[in-house]
């Protein structure tokens, strides 16, 4: 049985200009000890989906799904009180901006011991030794003296490590990392990713890595889910995706990377991700797709063997008429 099973997650936001569908039918299955990457650009709904799972969305949101089951328990219809017992203990999440994810008013030690006391009861101070142990595990030097440091005294990389320590304190079965290294420098990014993988292996923790960086996905994850404009377009193993992507968006995304440019100019994808107002009638990617046909522009595709496309890229390239020359953006 899978550890986490999400089927047909839909998230709507009430805005001044009507309802916005940020997430439109995401399916995600995570097994124990697996590393799954959720990849997408802005507007893909990748963060929103996971925040919905954690119950962290603002009041303007509505969350619906066929089912959301974690470790056999129904998360979708669970009352908030019950959910709070699971969030932070069995499911944890680390966020993008380490400097602002930690409470600036409290010391590092306080924040870590608070998490432990909250979930395991007892006096907060009694967990000081555990906190030191955790700080050592995440590679913070001089852990004992660090207990009394405030977040602003630490660098970005250190803050992220503290964040990780807080989130693995209760031995979660699933850790969700929302762009954990985007705000960090390259050499620190490498360290943090390595730490996450190491912790994941040693604790048998499942890891969901949300990112927009395909290269990070290639080097870290086992399976990958590609999102576009709130919809799930492809779900494969990492090796398969990077060798031969089946959805035109995945292919275009990979080709747009600088390292895959053939000549002086990069292979940019023309156009922009559709917003609230300009959602195309058929496939959401059709205005920007090299392979789009009239069918694609008129009718929304269904999931075709896990790929949301009328004509998944197979061995025969179906490069039909080029998409209409787009006006300058």
């Amino acid at each position: 049985m899978a550890l986490l099973e999400i089927k047909n997650l839909v998230v709507d936001f009430a805005t001044a200009t009507g309802s916005l569908r940020a997430v439109d039918g995401i399916d995600l299955t995570v097994d124990e000890g697996e590393i799954v990457a959720v990849v997408g650009e802005s507007g893909s709904g990748k963060s929103v989906g996971m925040l919905a799972l954690m119950g962290l969305l603002p009041w303007t949101s509505t969350v619906n799904a066929d089912h959301i089951v974690f470790d056999g328990q129904d998360l979708l219809n669970m009352p908030d009180k019950e959910r709070r017992k699971i969030i932070g203990k069995d499911i944890s999440m680390i966020f993008q901006e380490p400097m602002t994810s930690l409470n600036p008013c409290f010391t590092v030690g306080y924040q870590i011991t608070e998490v432990l006391a909250q979930h395991f009861g007892g006096k907060r101070r009694s967990y000081n030794d555990k906190a030191i142990e955790l700080l050592n595990q995440v590679g913070i030097p001089a852990a004992e003296s660090r207990l009394n440091s405030y977040p602003h005294q630490l660098s970005g990389g250190m803050c992220q490590r503290v964040m990780i320590a807080m989130m693995i304190a209760c031995q979660p079965k699933l850790l969700i990392a929302d762009e954990p290294t985007t705000a960090l420098d390259v050499t620190i990014q490498a360290q943090i990713l390595e730490l996450l993988i190491e912790l994941q292996k040693s604790r048998g923790m499942a890891l969901v890595l949300i990112t927009h960086d395909m290269a990070v996905v290639a080097e870290t994850a086992e399976r990958v889910v590609v999102l576009y404009a709130g919809q799930q377009v492809e779900q494969r193993t990492v090796k398969q995706l990077f060798k031969k992507p089946k959805h035109p968006y995945s292919e275009a995304l990979l080709n747009a990377l600088p390292e895959r440019a053939n000549d002086k100019l990069l292979n940019a994808i023309p156009g922009v991700v559709p917003g609230q107002m300009d959602r195309p009638q058929g496939c959401l990617f059709s205005p920007r797709c090299d392979y789009a046909t009239t069918l694609c522009r008129e009718k929304s595709p269904n999931l075709n063997d896990g790929i949301l496309c009328h004509f998944p890229l197979g061995d025969e390239k179906k490069k039909t008429e080029k998409s209409i020359k787009l006006e300058p953006q």
Binding site: E41, S42, S155, G156, G157, M158, D185, V186, T187, I188, Q189, A190, Q191, L193, E194, H212, D213, M214, A215, V216, V217, A218, E219, V238, K239, F242, A252, L253, L254, A256, L257, P258, E259, R260, A261, K264, L265, L266, N267, A268, I269, P270, V272, V273, G275, E327, P328, Q329
Partner: protein, 325 residues
């Protein structure tokens, strides 16, 4: 050999930081000893992580600040001297800047048209109609629709905002554009669009770029020359291909190694850097990189290396000097 557009020799920039009311001020060495030449139509990439001084360099080049010491001349004008109005204007028309954060570099309360026209309004005596014409012209050049003229920045995506920022930078027809991490905050597909735009504009307008970035994959594609910096000091400098194919300095090698790649078929030798980036207020003694360097020796903690030429590039490393690597 024509004169370089920008000539920088041994630039230093120090800030005095007061560590408390009664303490003597410490020196924050934001830049120590940067030298380079930038020629017309060329792209120099400045690469480094936080605290390396690249933003400080950007501020010096756009005359927001003056260097503490060293020589910096732009199109023949010496930046260290104080300038009269006419010279200041000429400088502004020579060097312009595109900032990193597309969401912060445009005034949220000004319409796009006003934002783009502002440099003209300040520096020229063109009529309102003439200004508008020029603004629309530039907008078309960077791929923005005419009707965006009257809209506010928050209605646009990151990529479009960067185009607006580029339009603003180009309206005075500068010769040099300083780009401070112009695509770091953008999605991959938009990054590619903006980089292509920058490459095309460079060809069409004969611009020289100072491209500041921490993303080596982007830089490889657009740069002619690369300057790698660490904690305010230059550590390696050379032609783009040489730096990528044969990096000499341990930091450059670590940086390249740490940059993830989608080419999973190639097994790479990972250079793991331990430790954090040092703070510029309390730099390590000797070579700034020595606490994290796998080739560090006793001498590295004592003396600071200087840039020496090795083949087609230059690097500042004692291990290289002493032949240890």
């Amino acid at each position: 050999m024509p004169e370089p557009l920008i000539k920088a020799r041994n630039l230093h920039k120090y800030y005095g930081i007061k560590d408390g009311l009664l303490q003597a001020s410490k020196n924050l060495k934001a830049l120590s000893g940067v030298s380079f030449d930038l020629y017309e139509g060329q792209t120099l990439a400045v690469v480094g992580e936080s605290g390396c001084g690249k933003s400080t360099l950007a501020r010096l080049l756009t005359s927001i600040e003056n260097p503490t010491s060293g020589h910096l001349s732009v199109d023949g004008i010496d930046m260290a001297k104080s300038h009269d109005k006419a010279t200041s204007k000429k400088l502004r028309q020579t060097v312009q800047m595109v900032f990193q954060d597309p969401f912060g570099s445009l005034n949220p309360r000004q319409k796009v048209g006003d934002i783009i026209q502002e440099p003209l309004l300040i520096n020229t005596v063109l009529s309102s109609l003439e200004r508008r014409e020029k603004a629309l012209e530039i907008m078309r050049l960077v791929g923005l629709k005419d009707e965006y003229f009257h809209r506010y920045p928050h209605m646009f995506s990151g990529g479009q905002r960067q185009r607006i920022a580029i339009a603003r930078a180009l309206i005075l027809k500068p010769k040099v554009v300083v780009l401070d991490e112009p695509v770091s905050a953008l999605d991959v597909s938009i990054q590619a669009q903006v980089i292509n735009l920058l490459i095309e504009l460079q060809k069409e307008l004969g611009l020289a770029y100072v491209f500041i970035s921490h993303d080596l994959s982007v830089v490889r594609h657009i740069a002619d020359e690369i300057l790698v910096m660490y904690l305010g000091k230059p550590v390696e400098h050379g032609p783009s291909e040489v730096i990528f194919n044969n990096p000499k300095h341990p930091y450059t090698q670590a940086l390249l190694s740490a940059t993830p790649s989608t080419n999973i078929s190639i097994k790479r030798q990972r250079i793991k850097l331990i430790g954090e980036l040092p703070s510029p207020i309390n730099p390590p003694t000797g070579c700034a990189f020595n606490p994290r360097c796998q080739h560090a020796h006793k001498s590295c903690k004592i003396s600071e290396p200087i840039m020496e030429t090795y083949g087609e590039s230059q690097a500042a490393c004692l291990a290289l000097d002493e032949g240890r690597i």
